[in-house]
C-alpha cells in the first residue's frame, strides 16, 4: 500500500514540477548553478572511472581470449561494445545515482528539515518547480557526460591494450571500427536521457517528502540511491528489449 502511495505521489510530484513556473531570471541562475553542481562537478569522477574501467574491460577480454583463431582486433571490438552499450549509459548512471542522487536528496532533505521549503511555500513559490525543475533541465546535459565516459573508456582500453602488450594499436583501432552501428550510440543516448530524468526526479522525491531530522536525511539518501538504481536497472532491461531486440 505504501509503495502504491509513493508511486502515486511521485507522479503527482512530476506534474506539480511543471506547474506555476518560477520567474525566468531566477530560474536561469538556478539552472546554471545545477549544471555546475551536477554536470561539471561530476566530470572528474566520470573521467577517472571511465578511463580505468575501460582499461580493465580490455585486459579481461584480452586475457580470456585463448584461441589463436580469434582475431586480435576482437579486444577493441568487445571493449567498444561493452562501453557504448552498457558501461557508459547504465553503470555510469548507477555511479551517478550515488554521487548526484545523494547530493540531490541530501540538499533538498536538509532544506525540508530546516524549513527552507516551508519558507518558499509561504512566499507563494511552487517549491517543486523551484527545486526540482532546474535539476531536470541541468541533467538534460547528462548525455554530454556519457559521451565523455564513452570516449575515455575506449581510450583507457586502448592504453591498457597497447601498454599492457595485449595487442597492437592498429589491431585495437581496427576493432573499435569493426561492424560499427550508429544505432547503438542512439540506443545508448535514449537510455541516457531516460536515466537522466530518473536521476533528477527520484532523489528529489526522497528529499522533498522526507520527514524527521538529520538522521533521516542520511537514511533518505540511502533509500534514494537504492530506488534510483533499481529503477535504472529495470528500465534498462525494458529499453534494451524494446530497442535492440526488434
Amino acid at each position: 500500500m505504501t509503495y502504491l502511495h509513493n508511486i502515486g505521489a511521485y507522479f503527482l510530484m512530476i506534474v506539480e514540477m511543471f506547474r506555476k513556473p518560477t520567474k525566468w531570471t531566477v530560474m536561469k541562475q538556478l539552472i546554471l548553478k545545477d549544471i555546475d553542481d551536477l554536470i561539471i562537478g561530476s566530470l572528474g569522477i566520470v573521467a577517472f572511472i571511465s578511463f580505468f574501467v575501460g582499461g580493465v574491460v580490455t585486459i579481461q577480454t584480452a586475457l580470456n581470449i585463448d584461441s589463436p583463431l580469434i582475431p586480435k582486433y576482437l579486444v577493441g571490438f568487445a571493449t567498444r561494445q561493452s562501453i557504448i552499450l552498457e558501461f557508459a549509459p547504465t553503470f555510469m548512471s548507477i555511479i551517478m545515482a550515488g554521487k548526484v542522487g545523494s547530493f540531490i536528496t541530501s540538499s533538498i532533505g536538509t532544506m525540508r528539515v530546516t524549513e527552507q521549503i516551508d519558507a518558499l511555500e509561504v512566499m507563494g513559490i511552487n517549491s517543486l518547480n523551484y527545486l526540482v525543475f532546474p535539476k531536470f533541465i541541468a541533467l538534460l546535459l547528462y548525455p554530454f557526460i556519457i559521451s565523455i565516459a564513452m570516449f575515455l573508456g575506449i581510450l583507457g582500453g586502448m592504453a591498457a591494450c597497447v601498454y599492457g602488450g595485449f595487442s597492437s594499436l592498429e589491431d585495437y583501432n581496427v576493432g573499435i571500427q569493426t561492424d560499427f552501428e550508429t544505432f547503438h550510440v542512439i540506443y545508448a543516448f535514449i537510455k541516457t536521457i531516460v536515466f537522466a530524468f530518473i536521476l533528477a526526479t527520484i532523489p528529489s522525491f526522497h528529499g522533498y517528502y522526507m520527514k524527521g531530522g538529520a538522521l533521516e536525511v542520511g537514511k533518505a539518501s540511502t533509500t534514494s540511491f537504492v530506488w534510483t538504481s533499481v529503477v535504472i536497472i529495470i528500465l534498462n532491461y525494458f529499453l534494451t528489449q524494446m530497442l535492440l531486440s526488434s
Binding site: 506555476k20 520567474k23 516551508d118 519558507a119 509561504v122 507563494g124 513559490i125
Partner: protein, 255 residues
C-alpha cells in the same frame, strides 16, 4: 486584520484544532501562547496556508482564503512575511541575497533599487555590515534579524513569527521582541507571533490568544493577563515563582 472562524483541523482521528475563532488586529502584535501540544504550530501553519483544514474560515482583510482563486492566493502569500523558528535562511545564499530573494521573485525592480531596499532593511535590523556573510557564519540572533529583514523587505501586510526568541539569550530576545513591535507599529502590519516566552507575553502581547487542547481557552492582552482569574491561564503563565511574584506585585501596585 485576520479573522479566524470556527477552525477545525485533524490528523487522522486526532482533532488538533477544535473550532477556534479569533481576530488578529492590524498594527498590533498578536501572540498565540499555550503548552506544547496545544495546537499553536498547527494553528499558525493553517493561517499560513501550509495546512488544509476541514472546517472553518480564515479571512485576510475580509477575503476568505479558501474561496480565492490560485492567483488571488498567490497575491495574498506575496503579502505575507514569515520568521521561522530556525530562521530558515537559504544556506546557499549570502545574507544580502537572502533578504533580496522576495524582491527578485515578486517585483520587477532594477538591481540598484533592490540593493537600496536591502541596504535599508538590513540597516533597520542593525545588520548593515553583514551583507556578504553566509548564514552559517552568523550567530543565532543575527540569523533571526536576517529572517525578520527578509520577512519585511517586500512590505508585507501580515507578519508571522514562529517562536522568534527560541534559542536566544534574554538580552537578544528582548532586542528581537522590540524590533518586531517597532516594525509592526511603524508599518501597521498584522503581526502574529507563536511564543512560549513569557517575557514576550508581558512585553509585546498587545493581543494574546491562549490555546489549550486545541481550543481557545482565553483571549486578552498583556494588561489583562495580570488580572485574569482564569486558572488555566494563570497556571501556565505564572508557572515560575518569579512570574508569580511579578503578578503579585503588579496586583498590589494597582489596588
Amino acid at each position: 486584520m485576520i479573522e479566524v472562524t470556527n477552525l477545525h483541523k485533524s490528523f487522522g482521528d486526532v482533532e488538533v484544532l477544535k473550532g477556534i475563532s479569533t481576530t488578529f488586529e492590524k498594527g498590533k502584535t498578536n501572540l498565540i501562547i499555550g503548552q506544547s501540544g496545544s495546537g499553536k504550530t498547527v494553528f499558525l501553519k493553517c493561517l499560513l496556508g501550509l495546512f488544509d483544514y476541514e472546517q472553518g474560515a480564515i479571512a485576510y482583510d475580509g477575503k476568505v482564503f479558501a474561496k480565492l482563486t490560485e492567483d488571488e492566493k498567490r497575491n495574498i502569500r506575496a503579502e505575507i512575511g514569515m520568521v521561522f523558528q530556525g530562521s530558515a535562511l537559504f544556506d546557499s545564499m549570502t545574507i544580502a541575497q537572502n533578504v533580496m530573494f522576495p524582491l527578485k521573485m515578486f517585483t520587477n525592480q532594477s538591481k540598484s533599487e533592490m540593493e537600496d531596499r536591502v541596504n535599508f532593511v538590513l540597516k533597520r535590523v542593525n545588520l548593515d555590515t553583514a551583507h556578504n556573510k553566509m548564514p552559517s557564519e552568523a550567530s543565532g540572533g543575527m540569523q533571526k534579524r536576517v529572517a525578520i529583514a527578509r520577512a519585511i523587505v517586500n512590505n508585507p501586510k501580515y507578519l508571522f513569527c514562529d517562536e522568534p526568541n527560541s534559542g536566544l539569550d534574554p538580552k537578544t530576545a528582548i532586542v528581537i521582541d522590540n524590533l518586531i513591535q517597532e516594525i509592526t507599529d511603524e508599518y501597521q502590519i498584522t503581526t502574529v507571533i507563536n511564543s512560549h516566552d513569557m517575557n514576550s507575553v508581558m512585553e509585546i502581547g498587545e493581543k494574546i490568544v491562549f490555546l489549550r487542547n486545541g481550543l481557545k481557552a482565553w483571549e486578552g492582552s498583556n494588561k489583562t493577563i495580570f488580572k485574569t482569574d482564569n486558572e488555566v491561564v494563570t497556571d501556565f503563565v505564572y508557572s515560575s515563582n518569579l512570574f508569580k511574584k511579578v503578578r503579585k506585585m503588579y496586583i498590589e501596585e494597582n489596588e
